[in-house]
Structures are given as C-alpha cells and as structure tokens.
Symmetry: C4
C-alpha cells in the first residue's frame, strides 16, 4: 500500500498547487477584451509554473514507477519536496503581479532551486534504500538534467537583479529541457509488463 498512497497523496497536493495558481487570477475589472492586457505577465508566469508542476508530476510518476517500496526517510523526503513546491504558487504570483521585478524573480528562482535540491534528496533516499543496482539507479544513469538545472536556477537568480527577463528566459529554458521525459526510464517502463 505504502507506495501507492504516497503517490496518490503527492498527486493530490500537486493538483491543488495548480489550483491555487488559478485562484490567484482575479476577474478582470472591465468587460472589454482590453481588460485582459495588463494580466499578461500573470498569465505568462502561470503558464511557466503550470509547466513546472507538470514536470514534477511527470518525473515523480516515472520515479515511483521504478520504486519498489517506501520507508520513513522516503516519506519525509517526499514531504520536504512538497513543501518547496507549495511555495511556487505564491512566488509565481508575486513575480507575475510585479511584472518580473528583480526581487520576486530571484525569489522564484530560489524556490525552484530548493525544489530541485529536495527532488535530488528524495531520489537519493530511494536509491540509498534500494541499492545502486536498483531499477531507479540504473534508469537515472548520470542524471545530467538533474545536475544542470540547479546551475541554471542559480545563474538566473543572479541575472534577476540586473536583467530579470534573462532570468525568465533561463527558467523557461530549464522547463523546456525537462519537458522531454527521460528516455532511459521510459524505455525501462516499456519493457516491464505492468508499467
């Protein structure tokens, strides 16, 4: 039961994070199409964060498909990941409402960085429990994307204070890099009968 319940709980939490972001959208103050115009930075940051939540759900899904069991350490590593992801809606909204001002844009990157570290800790907790010969360890391989992302976020956080739009571009770039699911895990799943 453990693994399924952890996955289901995480799904519930992720589903709600998407929702909170939608809740932040206020009904436009006018009834003309032009009333939508000032909302475009909010919309853009919503799209970006929707992508990130989707990426985390997708990677989480792939990771637990090759995870055999969970223990107390994994449960808490997962809760820790959810904590940082829970801050994405509010930092997204701050960035959107401020039209990508320096501080909010940097704080957004800090949240992404913390979530990336939390994800890596969760992955390590699973591999530690299940051995370096486990399905997950084999499927992850060199984990290049997992190593590059934090560097991108850090770089973007520095740029945020000088050229916030470059930071926005880097966040988008990192998201697009993750959009392509890991071919190795994908292949593993296809070879398994019930995957």
């Amino acid at each position: 039961m453990g693994k399924e319940r952890l996955a289901a709980f995480s799904d519930g939490v992720l589903a709600i994070f998407i929702t909170i972001m939608v809740l932040e959208f206020k009904v436009p103050s006018g009834v003309e199409l032009s009333a939508l115009r000032p909302l475009w930075t909010e919309f853009l940051s919503y799209v970006l964060s929707f992508l990130y939540i989707g990426i985390y759900w997708n990677n989480h899904h792939h990771m637990f498909a090759v995870t055999e069991r969970v223990n107390g350490r994994i449960l808490w590593a997962n809760m820790h990941l959810l904590f940082w992801l829970s801050l994405i809606p509010i930092t997204t909204n701050w960035m959107g409402v401020s039209h990508f001002a320096p501080a909010p844009t940097a704080v957004y990157g800090a949240t992404l960085l913390a979530a990336a570290i939390a994800y890596w800790l969760l992955q390590s907790a699973i591999i530690k429990d299940q051995g370096s010969e486990s399905l997950l360890a084999a499927a992850i391989g060199t984990d290049i994307k997992g190593k590059i992302s934090p560097i991108i976020y850090l770089t973007a956080m520095i740029f945020a204070f000088f050229y916030p739009w470059v930071a926005g571009g880097l966040y988008t770039l990192a998201a697009l890099m993750w959009l392509i699911p890991d071919p190795r895990i994908e292949r593993f799943m296809e070879e398994m009968p019930s995957g």
Copy 2:
C-alpha cells in the same frame, strides 16, 4: 500503474476546478431572498460550467476505460487539456459577473474551443500509440460530436459580439449534445468483464 495514476490525477484536478467555481460565489450582501436575484447570471454560468467539467470527466473516464497504457506524449497531452480546463472557472466567473457581456462571453467560448482541441490531441495521441485497431479507435468511430463541437464554439464566439444570448444558447446546446454518453464506448464497456 501509469494509467490509474494519470486518471486519478486528472480526477483530482477536475474536482478542484468545480470547487474554484464555487469559491467565486460570494455570500449575498443582504439577508433577504431578494439578495439572491442579482446572482442569477453567475448561477447560470456556474451550472453551465459544472456541466462541462462533468462532461469532460465523463468522456475522460470512458476514454481511459478503453486505453491500455500511457506514454510521455499522452501524459503531456493530458496536462495540456487540464491547462485549458483550468481556465474555465475564471472565464465562467467573468462571463457571469459581467451578465454575459460580449467579450467575456467570447473568451469563454475560446476556452471551450481550446479545451476541445486539446481533448482531440489527447485522443489522437492515444490512438497513435495504440493503433487504429485499438479498442479506443473502434469505440470512437467517426467521432461526429468531437467534430461538430469546435464549429459550434466558433459560431458562438462570433455571435457573442452581437447577440451574446445566442452564444449562451449555443454553449448550452453543445453541452446537452455531450450529455448523452457515447453508446459505442458504453456498449464496449458492458461487454468487458471488469469495465
């Protein structure tokens, strides 16, 4: 696991969309029954969107009942569908609060159109993966409703700028057309032992 988790995640997200619409209802400002009167366009648009979310849940449910497995492309096509459905609560509310003003009514139609296209992309991704001899391809058949709906939404969007109430009527008509579940998939499910 994949298919069940995707279905469960989508259910969670859809359940929350219904909720967001309810959250938009503000407590009436008076304590008399007459305080409910100005809320009737909001109520009407809530009923309409509740129907649409119900229809998508129902069709999604039927579609995944005859889907055998999921892959990365299907996961993202599903996430793309959820993105457009996530905008229904806010566009519903804008339309309701504005008493079916032209622009909000047209934007509501645009959201329905984008969701319909996203649903069709998801359906195509599943059929592409599972072959034209798959259960789903056979069950969908000519997919007349899927082809008529976008035309209705487009027509309604044009009418919205001149006679918004005609647009509202067309959205209702399209919803009623979908209320009847696809007899072919229904028959398929009854013939399967575990459906």
Copy 3:
C-alpha cells in the same frame, strides 16, 4: 475501473467541499480570546455542514460498497448529487454570517432537500440497473430515514421564516438521525469477505 474511479472522484469533490467551508473562516480581527465570540454562529453552522458532508460521504461509501457496476445514468445521477452538495458551503456560510436569519436558514434547508432528492435519484438509478434482487435493494430495505429526511427539511424551511432556531434544531436532528449508519448494510458488509 468505473466504480472505483467514480468513488474516488466523489471523495475528492467532498473533501474539497469541507475545505471551502474552512476557507470562509476569516482570521479574527483581534488578538484576544473575545475576538472569537462573534464567530460562534459561523462555527456552529460549520460543524453542522461538516456533519452533513460526513454523512453523505459515509452513506455514499456504504452504497458503493454494495454496488456492482456503474453506467452513464449512474455517473450523471452522481454528478447531480455533487452539484447540490457543492452549494452547501456557500449556503452554510450565508446562514452563519447572517446569525441564522430567516431567508438564509430556509435556503440552507432547500439545499439539503435538493441533495436528499438527488441522493434518492442516484440510489434509484443503481437499483434500476442492478435489479430489485440486488445487494443494494436488499440492504436499503424500506429506507425509512431516506423518506423522513425530506419531510424534516420541508418542515424546517417553513419554520425558518418564523422561528429560525427551530429550523436549526430540525437540521441538527436530521443529521443526528443519519449519524447512525444503516445496520442492514453494515451487516451485509461484515458478511462479505472483502467488504
């Protein structure tokens, strides 16, 4: 899959209804214990509606434990029930904020009445599909509680306009009557190995 997914979706929606009611609580305006005093009608109506959502979840749970399969009609009867339950948070809040004023108290009863009728329609749809010799039909029996409740709600709605507190008392009475789970279904479940 059908039955499980319908149950899971309903659970998600019910879970969220509880949440919406909590969201309506505003942080008290003072920092003294006395700041909690004006909130007591809101708290009371929250407890009452929490009980009702709990009762519906509980009965829904028992009903689907003896339901063998679902069809399109059952799916929509369930969606119809969720629609009326979705209005409980807002009517609860209106009643609480207005300190049990006549109109809000009557509207609350109308929502309970509509939900009770919707529940009865759902039950009938299942029995119609599964036959009068089905587990559910046998377990429901004469369904005395299901027949008395609407009468209590109707009586309370009339009292609401003259003595709102009597209406509140009747809503509480009806809730307490439902708190005791149906011994017949309970017995059925115990006799089943996997119930």
Copy 4:
C-alpha cells in the same frame, strides 16, 4: 474497498489543509526583498503546521497499513480527527498574523490537543474492533509519544499566556519528537511482504 477509500479520502482532506495554509499567504505588498521581512512569523507558523499535517499523514499512513478493516465507528472517529485538523490552517494563520500573541498561540495549542485526543480515539476504535492481539495493538505498544504529546500541548497552552515563545518552542519540540517514525510499526511493515 473500505479501508482504501477511507485512507484516500483522508489523504485528500489532508492535502487540502496544506493548501489552505498556502492560500492564506498574501502576495507581499512591495517588490523588494525587504517586503518579505514582516511575513516571517507567518512563514514560521506555516512550516510548523506543515510539519504537523505531515506527521498526521505519516502516522495515519502507518496506522492504516496495519489496520485490517474499518467499521462505522472507525469511519466517524476518522471524520472527527479530520474536523480538528481542519481548524489548524485558520489557527495557524491567526497565530502567524498576530506575531505569536498569547490568545492565538493558546488556541493553536487547543487545536493540537483536540487533534491528539481525536487521534487517540481513532486508534482505540481500531484496536477495539481488531482486538488487543491485532497487528496495530502490538505495533503501538506502550504508545509513549501519544501519551506525552497532550501533556506538552497543555503545558504550552498555559505558557502561551505568559511567554508565548516558550509555547512555540514546545510545539516545535513535540513536532520534532514525532518526526521519528515509530520503529516498531516500521519494523512490522518491513517484515510484511506487501507493506
């Protein structure tokens, strides 16, 4: 089905409680990093309550892993627990916004105390149904943490009126004590094949 559906419903509700707390965070009023400074008590109380919801989820997860079946009494004992947990987001926020003022800090402790009692009632209901030789009874053992926690909460509630920060420290201490999952249940789960 019963046990799984109860666990899933509880997960959904707990997931939403986390969300409500996030929703209470308002977008900072400035666009400078310094705009985050006045929010630190809110952030601190959010972290604390996130931990508590995580602890309850974790313990709930472990408890139901060794629960064989549910009955009406267990369903309602679970609902009763969820009721008190549902008040954590609002009391958390009151405590945070008031910068740990005496009354809100004491009310927060009262909510933790009520939840702890409700958890103990749920545990007792399961053991009563499944016998003192059940897996759960054996796994719980002397339940030292369950007995110490209410005493800590009560002590903190008294301190809250004189030294609120001591109360905050005691709440944190109790949370840290629970962070370590029960080694006995953990061991039981590892010995079971499907745990």
